[in-house]
Symmetry: C2
Subunit: 703 residues, 2 copies
């Protein structure tokens, strides 16, 4: 009977009628799986019966094997199923998330090799996820990926919001262009970074946000990127077909796999409404449920820090200017002259603690507290930090006690300088040192070239390192906020102690020459599709020269835009990044930062157009209060929103922090107006947003 | 005044009269340092006024810098000094070692760059050591070595005992040839290995042993190889000039240096008498004194082990044949069928413990005790072992208690499969596990390609790993015996817990097809110049098919040769490698292995010719007894020795374990004769040694 069935399937395949079709739960999406004449697996996606992904090939090219997993396949089994459950978040944009999809499992056997792979497709109401699975079998155990050959064939010359594909940085400004224009714009889209390596003039990163000529929004990314290499997209710009391009290891290979194993999910979110892209929880849903049993110690954090003053160049991380280079354990800091610029000194840190306590923040981050900053960067130095030796002017115990007495949590900083082996060697002691001194959260950093030499920030082996740190931190009940690590793919569902990530161009670049004024109208459609970002908003002084006369950068936003970011750019970890002295100049505006929560029970996306504007409303997890944030792009615009998300019949007072009429990110960024008004679910608001502007609204129930 | 001095030196240099000369303490050696016309540093070495190293260039080619450290130098300072001290060994061939040398320090400044380097030369009575030093300075802090360009210019077409230069293995058979013949013999000198990468058809490894046509023995090696890449020698076979060739990292670079720093010492031992090469302690003397304060826990060890039966293929490391591949923590061994070949089972281990206790051994090594051996090799598998999870049939606690009750120490085995990151991740827990279960010593292994990918067994970063393991082990008071790690360079003086190393073709190759019958007449002149080897002698059954019918290998020595190895091949860690059942067949010969010590108060080299024969006498550290060992090469030979090293006036009984007259390594390897005779310091002995033969003599004082 088994043989008869196989013959039947082979016949179907030969006859070209082997296509498998299935639909999303709401029927909007239809996906078709088929085999080409040479047995190449392919998929095709339709939204409301209109093709949105053309027939696209699936498969993997192998390095050592004679025959790759590209063709010569027959279908040996298929299975369709439905899944629908609602799960509870530890933190997030919502307390509950529905995970509802239809699934098609296709088991393929390669005729010549007798090898089996599975392609598992899941259709959600907002798009498609699929992955490769390599089941346990005799003929496919260990293999090396030369390249994954997954295609995403576009239906036309879409508009894209893209950054250059790079093995070592994600910190580029977004470029908006037609797909056909990427090649000519590529070089100008690459800006300098501490480590970088592009691979193709049409290579771009995920999450990639696109819009078709007829107004369909398409977002391509990946989910559950564990024990695999990070995927980029390489565009065939004649045919508008993207092909997966994995990050290589030091030997140029793209992944070492041992079956049984699975690839990450490749995700395609498609909608006629950009707001639905923001509302999608597909990335989280395609990750495994939480693996941390007791999550009571994981808490969202609002914080200030000894940081922006170093980023701007006003202060320094380094303790001394005496040494051009140092050796840990050999260099005697007690004999060095303290630099007047060293910010992480006990007195100054206590000022930050006082400020944090006065204004109700949870934590204080301090960078530059530990030995090694004199030559930490650019030397591929192995033993660069030990993560436990404080500079002479940083009193670990005293600061801990002082912070504790004020109800403030200190936030640890572990810059690795990319030296992953050195960090792993010190990890246990570093985490124990944190626990001994009252630190529950750590900001990690991976600035510069990766050690081991030849590896990249996004290669399989280094992703394995980030994952190792996250899991080891969980053992110590430590929350992690990784900077310069790989872009998130929803793993925070499985390991919610990963409360932050950078992995994109953050606010720091406003002090490194500035970012485009519409940058944050793109980020939620790209970087944030995989998880929250430690964007570090809250800059009130846009003229960086005011902090450091030698730095002529300008922060290309208005103050009102900065406030809007606290709602638009969801994160359970939010910084007020500017200096206390700048907040003290604008305490009325600062009030919004003080009031805005960092954890939510639900979120609504009121307006959205990538590159142009986003307006988001969120309900506080611990009250009935709502907060609305808007960020606006390059042109002045009127934002029109309805407050129909408010509970009917209830009364609220809204405090609106908006751009002044003459505000402008470049010429008049500090012009805002604060107004109060009574609102209900029937209220509609019209608010003018400046170029590079925005607004924040707090809506408090009146009882 | 300073300027005048500089000008003076420059003038000297320009005039070509800047040569600096100095002599060894005994006046036998003279070394001359000079600068070429273009400011290239050079040295030249004479023994008894005869040139033994022709004028040879010194310098380093840099990777990133515009100008390398090769020429354009002037001498800015020189200093001569003398050093003479005697230091105490923790273990060794002698209890006390004299460190006596004259030193010439030459400080060079590069005209264009204002960079300073120092070349420090030390002339001992048996040869020359020199190294590069990079002092702290403004213009040379971080640099990357493209290649070290140290030359060793030979005076003629010497005979060499060489193995192919390789970044990943040292386990080749030695080839004896003229330097001019290396190129044509190179390919045939390369045999298969689990990991290997040659770089040149005239590339060879150090320590390289040579003999000139006029009978001068020359040995080139390095000492104190720490935080640098391992040196090979690449031969210009037209001019007989060797140039240093360092092991590259994953990017192809040869070393990342931060000044202040020093290179390893380059060593050249030269003598008219081959025995003086064996007697040299230059390599140890060029290392730093012991850095371990309390060394009372470091003890030489004689051991047996569950090992040879796996090497021969009689038994297996793997617990089961059920799984083609396993995942640690996922694979359920409790459901697997135990292989009948799995040797590391509790019952069998206890038999080894009984045997060890019965015959007075210190320890028992067990390999294959821990989960992961089913697919441990050849897959570049990252999480390959965890070093703490025992197979179901290996009762860690029970074995510990049983061994303890018998006065036996268990010896741990950590095979890393080359996955250095994985080993470091588990190191603390693995060492703690050892201490918790009574293990004081570990045999480590690095079979297969190194992870991180692209690195090599002998690159700077991986040498750093071995060093890290040694130092971490010292923290736990654990002794280390590293296999497949880099060849020793005397670091055991500084870290005497490094009691063993393999780093050459050991006895195991006798079960992998066999080694040349004169192999062990070469090893003491090559591999052992850097420190002791865990050669694992003591094979009594030479026909490997007797153990495993599928293995037709032959151990190419006689039993008497195997006994001689315990004296000739000095090691504080000596194994009796064969199976108990084979020793039980030859208990009279086994008596020598039982009697021979593993620590000595003094050593005498009675006869020596590399490739042909070595006869060594050593005095037990803990008694007045002496032991003599001989290994012989390919031809039957009469060994004539005088026992004049015995204390005058004292009487001794000698037990002589010699080849029978008709013994032959191939045709009659088990033919030995044991005789006893009274001896004194006046006794002379003539002993016939078979092809591939040898002898062992125990000389016990008669009171």
């Amino acid at each position: 009977m088994k043989n008869v069935f196989s013959v039947f399937l082979v016949l179907l395949s030969v006859l070209g009628v082997s296509a498998q079709e299935f639909q999303s739960p709401n029927g909007a999406f239809k996906m078709s799986f088929s085999l080409g004449n040479d047995g190449t697996p392919m998929y095709q996606l339709f939204l409301n019966n209109k093709e949105v992904i053309k027939k696209s090939k699936l498969g993997l090219e192998l390095q050592k094997d004679k025959k790759s997993l590209l063709n010569d396949f027959k279908v040996v089994d298929t299975k369709q199923s439905t899944f629908n459950e609602t799960w509870q978040t530890v933190w997030g944009e919502e307390t509950k998330i529905q995970n509802h999809y239809n699934e098609l499992m296709v088991k393929l056997k390669q005729n010549e090799t007798d090898r089996e792979i599975i392609v598992r497709f899941r259709l959600f109401n907002e798009g498609l996820g699929f992955r490769y699975e390599f089941p346990e079998q005799k003929n496919l155990i260990y293999f090396v990926i030369k390249e994954e050959r997954t295609e995403f064939a576009m239906t036309g010359n879409h508009t894209a919001f893209w950054i250059p594909g790079d093995y070592d940085t994600q910190e580029y400004d977004y470029t908006e262009s037609k797909l056909s224009e990427i090649r000519s714009l590529f070089k100008s889209a690459v800006s300098e970074n501490a480590s970088q390596k592009q691979f193709s003039d049409t290579g771009v990163q995920t999450s990639l946000m696109m819009k078709s000529a007829d107004g369909i929004y398409i977002n391509i990314h990946e989910a559950a990127l564990i024990n695999y290499s990070c995927m980029h997209l390489n565009l065939d710009d004649k045919n508008f077909v993207f092909q997966s391009h994995l990050t290589p290891d030091a030997k140029g290979n793209k992944g070492h796999i041992q079956a049984p194993s699975v690839s990450p999910w490749r995700t395609i979110i498609v909608s006629k409404d950009a707001r639905e892209v923001l509302a999608s929880r597909m990335t989280l849903n395609l990750n495994e449920p939480c693996k941390i049993e007791n999550t009571s110690w994981i808490k969202p954090v609002k914080y200030v820090g000894v940081w922006w003053e170093m980023i701007t160049g006003k202060s320094s991380w380094a303790y001394t200017e005496d040494f051009p280079a140092i050796q840990l354990g050999v260099t005697d800091y007690s004999k060095a002259k303290q630099s007047a610029k060293h910010a992480a000194n006990t007195k100054h840190v206590k000022e930050y603690i006082d400020f944090a306590a006065l204004h109700g923040f949870d934590g204080v981050l301090v960078e530059g507290w530990n030995e090694g900053w004199e030559d930490w960067f650019g030397h591929e130095k192995d033993y660069v930090f030990d993560f436990i030796s404080a500079y002479p002017d940083f009193d670990v115990k005293g600061i801990h006690e002082y912070a504790k007495s004020k109800g403030i949590k200190m936030i640890m900083h572990h810059e690795t300088s990319g030296a992953t082996r050195n960090y792993e060697r010190h990890l246990d002691k570093a985490f124990q040192f944190m626990k001994d001194n009252g630190y529950d959260a750590v900001k990690t950093g991976y600035v510069g070239n990766i050690l081991p030499l030849g590896e990249h920030h996004y290669s399989q082996s280094i992703l394995n390192h980030y994952q190792y740190v996250t899991e080891k931190a969980a053992e110590y009940k430590i929350m992690v906020n990784a900077h310069e690590a790989v872009r998130p793919t929803g793993i925070c569902r499985t390991y919610p102690n990963m409360i932050g990530n950078e992995a994109a161009r953050g606010t720091e670049f406003q002090a490194f020459g500035g970012s485009k004024a519409n940058h944050t109208t793109v980020l939620p459609f790209t970087r944030l599709m995989g998880g929250p970002m430690d964007y570090t908003p809250g800059i009130f002084e846009m003229d960086i020269a005011k902090l450091n006369p030698g730095n002529n950068s300008h922060c290309n936003t208005t103050i009102a835009n900065q406030l809007g970011l606290y709602v638009v750019m969801y994160s359970p970890l939010q910084m007020a990044a500017d200096l206390p002295e700048n907040y003290n100049r604008f305490l009325d505006a600062f009030q919004f930062i003080k009031d805005v929560p960092v954890d939510w029970s639900t979120s609504k996306y009121l307006e959205a157009e990538p590159g142009y504007y986003i307006t988001t409303a969120r309900k506080d997890k611990n009250s009935n209060n709502w907060f609305v944030g808007n960020v606006n792009g390059l042109n002045k615009r009127t934002s029109t929103i309805s407050l129909d998300f408010l509970e009917k019949g209830k009364k609220y007072e809204a405090t609106i922090y908006a751009d002044a009429n003459d505000a402008h990110y470049k010429t008049n960024p500090q012009a805002y107006k604060i107004t109060k008004q009574k609102v209900t679910s029937k209220t509609k608001l019209q608010l003018t947003t400046a170029a590079g502007g925005g607004y924040g609204i707090s809506i408090v129930e009146v009882k």
